[in-house]
C-alpha cells in the first residue's frame, strides 16, 4: 500500500478542534444530556476526521463534523432506547441538562430567552441552535439533520414565530 503522506492533517485537526470543539460538545450535550458522554462522542468525531479519507478539507468540514457528531449521538440514544429526537409531535420538553457548568449565572434576559427556547419542541430547538448558535445555513442544517431544506425553513419559521411572540409579550423586543 502506497503510504500517502497527509502533510497538514495535524494542523487541520488542531484548527478544527480550536474552532469546533466547544460547539460540538455543546451540540452533543443537547442531545445526550450527559457531559461525559457528549465529550466521548466529540472525541470520536475528531478521530473519524482523522481516519475517514472522505473527510472534507474545506468549508464543508464544519457541517460534516456536526453530521458525524449527530449520527454518533443518535446511535447512543438509540442504543439506550431513549426517546426519538426526530419525532416532531413530541411534547415540548425542557432540555434536561444536569451539566453543572450551566449553573453559571446568566443575565436575566439570556435566562428568559433560553427558557423560552426550552419550551419549543426538540426539533425546532435543534435547528434554531444550529442556525443562531453555530451559524449554519439552511442547506448545511439540512445536511446535518437529514431534513429537507424546506422543512428546515419551516421549523425555523415556526420556532421563531413563537419566540417572537413570547419575546414581544415579555417586553423584550418591539
Amino acid at each position: 500500500m502506497k503510504p500517502h503522506v497527509d502533510d497538514n492533517l495535524t494542523q487541520r485537526v488542531q484548527a478544527a478542534m480550536g474552532a469546533h470543539e466547544a460547539p460540538l460538545v455543546r451540540y452533543a450535550t443537547r442531545m445526550v444530556s450527559r457531559a461525559e458522554t457528549a465529550r466521548d462522542i466529540v472525541q470520536d468525531t475528531f478521530l473519524k476526521m482523522i481516519e475517514a479519507e472522505t473527510a472534507p478539507t474545506d468549508g464543508k468540514l464544519p457541517a460534516w463534523l456536526f453530521t458525524v457528531c449527530r449520527n454518533k449521538a443518535l446511535d447512543v440514544l438509540r442504543k439506550e432506547k431513549r426517546m426519538n429526537l426526530l419525532n416532531d409531535n413530541e411534547q415540548a420538553i425542557a432540555a434536561t441538562d444536569p451539566n453543572p457548568a450551566e449553573a453559571v449565572e446568566l443575565g436575566e434576559t439570556s435566562c428568559r430567552v433560553l427558557d423560552a427556547l426550552a419550551q419549543l419542541p426538540p426539533n425546532q430547538r435543534e435547528v434554531l441552535r444550529l442556525k443562531y448558535q453555530n451559524e449554519f445555513s439552511y442547506r448545511q442544517i439540512a445536511e446535518i439533520t437529514g431534513h429537507s431544506v424546506s422543512n428546515v425553513g419551516f421549523l425555523i419559521h415556526t420556532g421563531m414565530t413563537k419566540l417572537r411572540r413570547q419575546f414581544k409579550t415579555g417586553g423584550m423586543i418591539g
Binding site: R34, D40, L47, E102, Y132, M160
Partner: protein, 716 residues
C-alpha cells in the same frame, strides 16, 4: 411571488438566508406591506437575542487527555496513511514484528557502559526536542533511522507505536513492543491476537454494528456527585506510553571502570502530584511521567538541618540499608537538608504571578484552583511583600501592578476578577512579568516570577530558545522562576520542568487545594526562598568494596564528570527547609550479579590498568562531594563526606529510609523498570505501611492509598 405575512420565506429573509434573487423579491414585497416589515424586524430582533443568549452560555470543551489522544492519532496518521493498512493487518490477527524502538534499546544495552550513561542524557534531550516538534514522529523517525544498524526494511508500520484510543472496552491492555523487562530479553516477533492488540478502529457511521459503550454513566458519575472529573474507567494504562519512554533507567555501572557518578539535585515534586492525579482518576500513569526522584522527594523526611552557626546552607547525611527488592544488594542514601528560615525571618518578597487565563483554563481544576492557591499565598504574606499579576491569553494584561500585601483586599479583589478567555500566547506575558519583577526588585529579598499554567504554553511570536535565554538571563539578575502546573495532561510536563530549571526555580503540580497548601503555605519558605543554587553531587565509589552501582532516578539530571567542577554548568536549586534524597543501589564486591554486563573491553596497550590506592583499603564505601553556590554567588563551594561501609542493618531501622525505598520501588514498578526484579506492589505497600511513622500531614497514608489503587488497576 405570492407571499403572505406568515410565510417562512420572511423568516428566512430575516435570518439572512436567501440568495440575491429571492431577497430582492421579498424586499419588494416588504416595501408594500408595513405590517410584514414590522414582523420581520421583530424576527431579526428575536434572532439577535437568541444569538446573544447563546454567546453567554459557557462552552465546555474536551478534556485535555482527549485532545491529546486526538492529536497523537493525527500525528500518527499524518506519518503515512499506509500505516492504517499495517494496523488493519495487525488487527486481523496477522503477526507483526516489534517496532524499532525496542530493538534500539536492546541493542544499546550492550554498548560500552560508559556510553550508556551518555546515551541516557542524549535520549533525554532528544525527548525534549521530540515533544517540541509539532510533527512529532518525524524527528523520532530520523532518530531511529540514524541509529539503525541492521538491514531492516523501512516499513512505516514498524516505526509507529500502536496508539490505544481510550474507552474501547474490547481493546485489552497488553501491547507487545515496549521495552523488554530485562536486558536478557531478545527482540522477538510477537504473535498478536485481536484480543491483545490495541488498534484504532476505522469505523463508519453507517456501520451500526460497531458500537461501543460510551463514557461513564454510573451513578457516581461526577455530574451527579460533583466530584472531580475522572478520565474514565476504560482508559487503558498504556495509552500513549510509547511517546514518553525516552527516559531510560540509569543502568548499573561497574565501579572499576566508572568510579564517578555526577548529577544535579532536584527538588521538583510535580511528577508525584501528576501520578497521584492519574491514579486517583483511575488510570496508571505513562512510564515517562514517572520520575522516581520527584516521587521520593515529595515527602518530608526528618533529616537534621545544618547547625545554627554553620556557614553552610544545608547539611549532608549518608546511610546504608539492605536493598528491599534485592537483598544481596545495598541501598545508599544521600540526604540533603536545607536550613530552615522561620516565616518571621523571611526576607521581603517581590512576586509576580504570571497566569495563563486562556479558554482552556476555565475547568474547575484550573483557574478556580489557581485563584484559591493565590489567595492562600497572599494570606501568608505581609506588608513587606509585594504582588503583581500579569495575565496572558489572547492579550497580555497587567491586571495588578506590584502592590504591597498590606493592601490584601485589593489583591484579593483582583484575583477574584480573573476570568478565562481566548487563546494562549505566553511569550509576551513572560517578558512583561519579568519587567514588572525587575522594576520592583528587592535587594537581598526574594524576587520571583510564578508561572501558573495548564501547560498549553504557546509562546506565540517568541521562539522557544529565545524564551529560555530570557529566563536564564533573568535568573542571573536574581529574578527566579517558579512554575506551577494545573490540570494538565502529560504532554507539556517536560517543557514546564525545563522552564523552571532554566529559571533557577522549582516546578510543582497542583491538582488539589491540599497540594496548593503544601506548596504555597506549608512550604512557603521553601518555594519562595532559594538558599543554594547550582547544587551538584559527585560520588566516588571505592571499587575495593563496590562492584557496581546504579543511581535510582535523576535520569534527566545526569552530568558529565567534568561538569562537577565547571561553575558555568547550571544545576538544581534548594529552597529553605527543602530535603533532597538520592538513592543508589549498590552491588557489593563479591556478589555475583547479572545486572552488569561483563566489560568486554580489550586490555589497553599503552596504559596499565588503574590501581587501587591506599584509601581504597579502608572501610569507606564511597565519598560524596557537593558543590553549591549561594543565591547571589558566582563561585561554587565544595563539601565532602565519606560513607563507611556497613551491612545495612541499621538502615533497616530508619523509617524515613525504608519509606523512601518503598517510594522508589513504587516508581520502579510504575515505570516497569528493568531493575525492579521480582518486587511487587504488595511488597511496596507492606514496606510503606511499616515505615509510615507519625505522618503528621497524612502524605504517607495518601501514598499507601495510591499503592492500593495502583494494585487494583494492575489487578495484582
Amino acid at each position: 411571488m405570492n407571499l403572505n405575512e406568515n410565510d417562512p420565506k420572511l423568516t428566512a429573509f430575516a435570518s439572512g438566508e436567501l440568495d440575491d434573487t429571492e431577497r430582492k423579491e421579498v424586499e419588494a414585497y416588504l416595501a408594500e406591506h408595513p405590517e410584514a416589515r414590522a414582523k420581520v424586524e421583530e424576527i431579526r430582533a428575536a434572532g439577535d437575542m437568541l444569538a446573544a443568549a447563546f454567546a453567554v452560555e459557557p462552552a465546555d470543551g474536551l478534556k485535555d487527555y482527549q485532545r491529546q489522544a486526538i492529536l497523537e492519532n493525527a500525528r500518527i496518521a499524518q506519518q503515512g496513511r499506509g500505516n492504517l493498512s499495517g494496523l488493519q493487518q495487525a488487527a486481523e490477527g496477522k503477526t507483526f514484528t516489534l517496532p524499532a524502538p525496542t530493538r534500539i534499546f536492546v541493542l544499546r544495552r550492550w554498548l560500552s557502559l560508559a556510553a550508556a550513561a551518555i546515551f541516557g542524557m542524549t535520549v533525554g534531550i532528544g525527548l525534549f526536542a521530540f515533544q517540541q516538534n509539532q510533527a512529532g514522529l518525524t524527528d523520532r523517525e530520523t532518530q531511529l533511522a540514524s541509529s539503525k544498524t541492521e538491514g531492516r526494511e523501512d516499513k512505516p508500520s514498524d516505526t509507529i507505536p500502536l496508539i490505544d484510543i481510550p474507552k474501547f472496552p474490547e481493546d485489552k491492555a497488553a501491547r507487545p513492543g515496549t521495552i523488554p523487562g530485562s536486558p536478557a530479553t531478545p527482540a522477538s516477533p510477537a504473535k498478536a491476537t485481536e484480543d491483545e492488540l490495541a488498534y484504532p478502529k476505522v469505523y463508519d457511521v453507517r456501520d451500526l454494528s460497531v458500537r461501543v459503550t460510551w463514557g461513564n454513566d454510573s451513578p457516581d458519575s461526577p455530574l451527579i456527585t460533583g466530584a472531580t472529573e475522572k478520565p474514565g474507567p476504560t482508559r487503558k494504562e498504556k495509552w500513549n506510553r510509547e511517546a514518553y519512554d525516552r527516559i531510560v533507567d540509569n543502568p548499573f555501572l561497574a565501579a572499576l571502570g566508572n568510579p564517578l557518578s555526577t548529577f544535579s539535585i532536584d527538588v521538583d515534586t510535580a511528577s508525584y502530584s501528576n501520578t497521584r492525579r492519574m491514579l486517583n482518576g483511575g488510570a496508571l500513569p505513562p512510564r515517562g511521567a514517572v520520575r522516581i526522584e520527584e516521587l521520593v522527594n515529595y515527602f518530608p523526611y526528618d533529616y537534621a538541618p545544618p547547625k545554627t552557626d554553620s556557614k553552610r546552607p544545608f547539611a549532608v547525611h549518608t546511610a546504608v540499608a539492605v536493598c528491599p527488592w534485592q537483598p544481596k544488594h545495598k541501598l545508599v542514601r544521600i540526604a540533603l537538608k536545607g536550613k530552615k528560615i522561620p516565616a518571621a525571618k523571611r526576607p521581603p518578597s517581590n512576586l509576580v504571578f504570571l497566569l495563563d487565563v486562556s479558554g482552556s483554563m476555565c475547568d474547575d481544576n484550573k483557574l478556580p484552583l489557581v485563584r484559591k492557591s493565590m489567595k492562600m499565598l497572599v494570606d501568608r504574606l505581609g506588608e513587606n511583600d509585594r504582588i503583581a499579576i500579569v495575565t496572558y491569553a489572547a492579550k497580555t494584561k497587567l491586571v495588578l501592578d506590584s502592590t504591597s500585601c498590606h493592601k490584601k483586599a485589593a489583591i484579593i479583589k483582583a484575583i477574584g476578577q480573573l476570568i478565562s478567555e481566548g487563546r494562549t500566547d505566553g511569550g509576551e506575558g513572560i517578558q512583561l512579568a519579568y519587567k514588572v519583577a525587575a522594576k520592583n526588585f528587592i535587594k537581598n529579598g526574594t524576587n520571583r516570577v510564578i508561572l501558573c499554567s495548564d501547560g498549553d504554553f504557546n509562546v506565540g511570536t517568541t521562539s522557544s530558545s529565545e524564551l529560555t535565554r530570557l529566563i536564564e538571563n533573568k535568573a542571573k539578575t536574581g529574578v527566579f522562576l517558579t512554575v506551577l502546573g494545573f490540570g494538565m495532561g502529560n504532554y507539556q510536563d517536560n517543557r514546564l520542568e525545563q522552564l523552571a530549571d532554566k529559571g533557577n526555580g522549582n516546578y510543582g503540580y497542583i491538582d488539589t487545594a491540599a497540594e496548593a497548601k503544601k506548596l504555597l503555605v506549608d512550604g512557603l519558605t521553601g518555594t519562595l526562598i532559594t538558599i543554594a543554587k547550582d547544587v551538584k553531587i559527585q560520588v566516588e565509589f571505592n571499587p575495593a568494596r563496590v562492584a557496581a552501582y546504579r543511581l535510582i532516578g535523576y535520569e534527566n539530571r545526569m552530568l558529565k564528570k567534568e561538569d562537577f567542577n565547571d561553575d558555568k554548568k547550571d544545576a538544581g536549586e534548594i529552597g529553605a527547609g527543602h530535603t533532597v534524597t538520592a538513592l543508589y543501589e549498590v552491588v557489593p564486591v563479591g556478589q555475583k550479579t547479572p545486572a552488569v554486563a561483563p566489560a568486554k573491553v580489550d586490555t589497553l596497550k599503552y596504559l596499565t590498568p588503574a590501581k587501587l590506592t591506599k584509601a581504597a583499603d579502608g572501610d569507606e564505601m564511597l565519598t560524596v562531594k557537593l558543590r553549591y553556590k549561594l543565591p547571589a554567588g558566582e563561585k561554587s563551594t565544595l563539601m565532602q563526606v565519606a560513607l563507611k561501609d556497613a551491612d545495612g542493618k541499621i538502615g533497616r531501622q530508619d523509617k524515613d529510609f525504608q519509606f523512601a525505598a518503598a517510594v522508589a520501588g513504587f516508581g520502579m514498578i510504575l515505570r516497569d523498570s528493568p531493575y525492579k526484579g521480582t518486587y511487587t506492589l504488595a511488597a511496596v505497600e507492606e514496606l510503606a505501611a511499616a515505615a509510615k511513622g507519625k505522618d503528621p500531614n497524612g502524605y504517607r497514608a495518601e501514598f499507601i492509598a495510591l499503592v492500593k489503587k495502583a494494585r487494583k488497576l494492575k489487578k495484582i
